[in-house]
């Protein structure tokens, strides 16, 4: 009897010991690996932004081949959500509860991100650099969520301000996607117009699946605007500019940073994007910025898949994750979620290839404790997809 009891106890402790490293380790972290996740639209209406997630993947490969982070390699789990919030939620839950993800990086889209924001917050899973400038990430701020993308509201304000103060525009119309992404841009534009004592001469919304935009452009034209601000998807923006050209309707077009990949926009509009002014979130490809050149040579030229294009959408995947890598480095070997959050909060004046990033200890009344970047600059598309820088980095709080 005693023998049997001893044997049972031995087996029990043997099993317990075999699980020990996992029982006490942080989810998604082992001695040699850090599991990071990201969703990104590799198909669907927002596929043009799919290279954000691919850029991040190549950046992580480069980090791994340069020794990883304190002896650990990044294991990158990326899935295609097709810009469909239902798919985003299903994919995140599957990876989080199946594989165990330490932290999430980027993730394109306001609506897809919103579908998992509360889920990640509830589990206190860190999420750094959502690839959308939505107020929803930081208003109210959440302990686990560190935003990098400058707010759309601020971008829209900067564009409208430039149109009114520098270009002398008075009649501003707004075309926006009827979702949280579009409405963020709309809010910023309306606020800036109000600050100048003006109102939008037209507000035209569209659905992601709309392909016939003639009625929308007719509404815009009817209002006789001298500037049209577009807060829509890439195909929508391309169609609006194209149909306007066909209608001989030629206001100054302005658009969000999500359409600031000029060579690509020129390609899909067959050259009609020339003259459009956008905000942007990273140094320009031809700027000669040393760190950007380094990434081009060591990340893009080495790891990018055949057919991938070096442009702002691709290296936005690096911009949004640079602060995350900095946070992981600051943790040292003792990588827990609490340590990581503390390390992220210690980041101040961090400058990679995007805007300057600073966080503060969590304060539920201060959204800038979690909104790391608040700078943008404006540029205009020139012939051949080249960009003319119109402003320097501007603070857009």
């Amino acid at each position: 009897m005693k023998k049997k009891l001893l044997l049972t106890l031995f087996v029990f402790f043997a099993i317990l010991l075999s699980f020990t490293p996992d029982l006490f380790a942080e989810e998604g972290v082992t001695d040699t690996e850090i599991h990071l996740g990201q969703w990104g639209p590799q198909s669907g209406p927002a596929a043009a932004w799919g290279n954000v997630a691919r850029g991040t993947g190549d950046y992580f490969k480069w980090i791994n081949d340069n020794g990883g982070i304190h002896g650990r390699k990044i294991v990158y789990h990326m899935f295609d959500d097709g810009y469909n919030p239902a798919k985003t939620k299903a994919g995140v839950k599957e990876l989080q509860e199946g594989t165990g993800i330490f932290a999430w990086a980027c993730g394109v889209g306001t609506s897809p991100g919103l579908s998992v924001r509360d889920y990640l917050a509830k589990r206190n899973v860190p999420w750094v650099g959502p690839a959308a400038g939505s107020m929803h990430w930081v208003n109210p701020p959440q302990k686990n969520l560190f935003a990098v993308y400058p707010l759309y509201v601020g971008e829209a304000k900067a564009l409208v301000k430039y149109a009114i103060e520098t270009m002398g525009k008075k009649r501003v119309a707004i075309a926006y996607l009827n979702d949280e992404y579009g409405k963020n841009g709309l809010r910023g534009a309306l606020a800036e117009l109000k600050a100048h004592g003006l109102k939008a001469v037209a507000q035209v919304s569209m659905e992601a699946k709309d392909s016939d935009l003639k009625p929308h452009v007719m509404k815009l034209r009817k209002a006789k605007p001298d500037m049209v601000l577009m807060w829509t998807t890439v195909p929508h923006s391309a169609r609006i500019v194209g149909i306007s050209k066909a209608m001989k309707f030629a206001p100054q077009f302005m658009s969000t940073s999500t359409t600031s990949d000029f060579p690509f926009m020129m390609h899909i509009t067959k050259g009609l994007w020339e003259g459009v002014i956008t905000a942007t979130l990273g140094e320009l490809p031809e700027s000669g910025y040393p760190l950007l050149n380094k990434y081009k040579k060591e990340v893009f030229d080495t790891y990018a898949a055949k057919g991938e294009r070096w442009g702002v959408f691709y290296y936005a995947g690096i911009i949004f994750t640079e602060p995350m890598i900095e946070g992981l480095k600051r943790c040292g070997r003792d990588l827990t979620r609490e340590n990581f959050i503390t390390a992220m909060e210690s980041i101040s004046g961090f400058k990679g290839i995007g805007p300057e990033v600073s966080y503060k200890p969590y304060n539920k009344n201060d959204m800038y404790s979690r909104q790391g970047a608040s700078q943008t600059f404006l540029l205009q598309c020139l012939a051949g997809g080249k960009a003319k820088r119109l402003t320097d980095w501007m603070d857009i709080k």
């Binding site: 639209p41 590799q42 198909s43 669907g44 209406p45 596929a47 043009a48 799919g50 290279n51 009827n178 035209v204 919304s205 569209m206 659905e207 699946k209 709309d210 392909s211 016939d212 003639k214 009625p215 929308h216 007719m218 509404k219 009817k222 890439v234 195909p235 391309a238 169609r239 194209g242 149909i243 050209k245 066909a246 209608m247 001989k248 690509f264 390609h267 899909i268 067959k270 009609l272 057919g307």
Partner: protein, 291 residues
């Protein structure tokens, strides 16, 4: 008044691509009574095939389009022969599910093979080159689509009315067993029907591609084409075309005068209304089987 006329013209313009997709759906429905939900993706794969010929093999546009239309016919025939014909004891519901399956496979294949990033197809007419007559505009590509839709409708109408093959297709739809008894090879007829339908869909795809190409580009035209086909009665070729133009015009007028936000759903409200009030559609005769 100018705005009203412009909305009518824009409605007719957008209705042309709906008409082509509606025609393609009606052709298959006429012979097999199966709504083919893979129609959009069949057109999609043909369009990407054309793009491949243009960009990878550097063929001229005309040659590429010719080979694409041949490819489209072969694709339609292949799908019928290799997949639909193999269905055991098929009923309409089972066939619909099969077409949905084909749709998913083709969509996945295009995404995998050609990537999901937006592209535009090189074409002799720019997608935004327009004709402007007294402040009313229409793009040249839309004029071409309009002409293609009307021409195809006339050709198909004459084909079904006056050719042996067309009559055999009609006979196959009306009574397959009787058609077999009089010597019609109904399987072959169905295969040819799929081929022709695929060709009509490919024309729609080719005329949409100069504006924008991505794996989901045919969803909207396919759904609207289906709505037009239902509205027109599912078996009437002129019915589908007229309904497609009506749909385009209604959408534009609704967007212009009622609500731009709900413009997209108008088509589906119309489907519901038509199915409730006149289930056989606006232009088809309602056959009642005598027992």
């Amino acid at each position: 008044m100018i705005d009203f006329i412009q909305m009518i013209v824009s409605g007719i313009a957008v209705g042309s691509s709906y008409a082509l997709m509606g025609l393609a759906m009606v052709i298959i429905y006429k012979t097999s009574e199966v709504p083919n939900f893979a129609q959009g993706e069949m057109a999609l794969i043909s369009s990407f095939f054309a793009m491949m010929l243009l960009t990878s093999f550097h063929l001229s546009v005309y040659l590429a389009f010719f080979f694409t239309l041949v490819f489209a016919v072969l694709l339609g025939c292949f799908l019928e022969f290799a997949i639909l014909r193999r269905a055991k004891e098929p009923n309409v519901l089972g066939m619909i599910v099969i077409t949905i399956g084909i749709e998913m496979i083709l969509l996945g294949f295009v995404s995998w093979k050609f990537g999901a990033e937006q592209k535009t197809m090189p074409f002799p007419i720019g997608p935004y080159d327009s004709l402007i007559i007294r402040d009313i505009f229409i793009s040249k590509l839309e004029v071409l689509t309009l002409v293609a839709a009307l021409l195809l409708m006339i050709v198909l109408f004459l084909f079904f009315k006056f050719t042996k093959l067309g009559l055999a297709m009609k006979a196959t739809q009306q009574n397959r067993v009787a058609a077999q008894i009089v010597g019609i090879r109904t399987n072959r007829i169905l295969m040819i029907t799929w081929g022709i339908s695929s060709l009509v869909g490919a024309v729609a795809g080719l005329l949409i591609s100069p504006t924008i190409m991505h794996p989901y580009m045919m969803w909207d035209p396919m759904l609207k084409g289906f709505a037009a086909a239902v509205m027109g009665g599912m078996t009437s070729l002129p019915g589908a075309v007229v309904a497609a133009y009506l749909l385009g015009i209604i959408e534009n007028l609704f967007g212009g005068y009622v609500s731009i936000e709900f413009k997209t759903v108008v088509a589906f409200v119309i489907i519901v209304l038509v199915l409730c009030i006149r289930p056989s559609g606006l232009f088809a005769r309602h056959y009642v089987k005598k027992v």
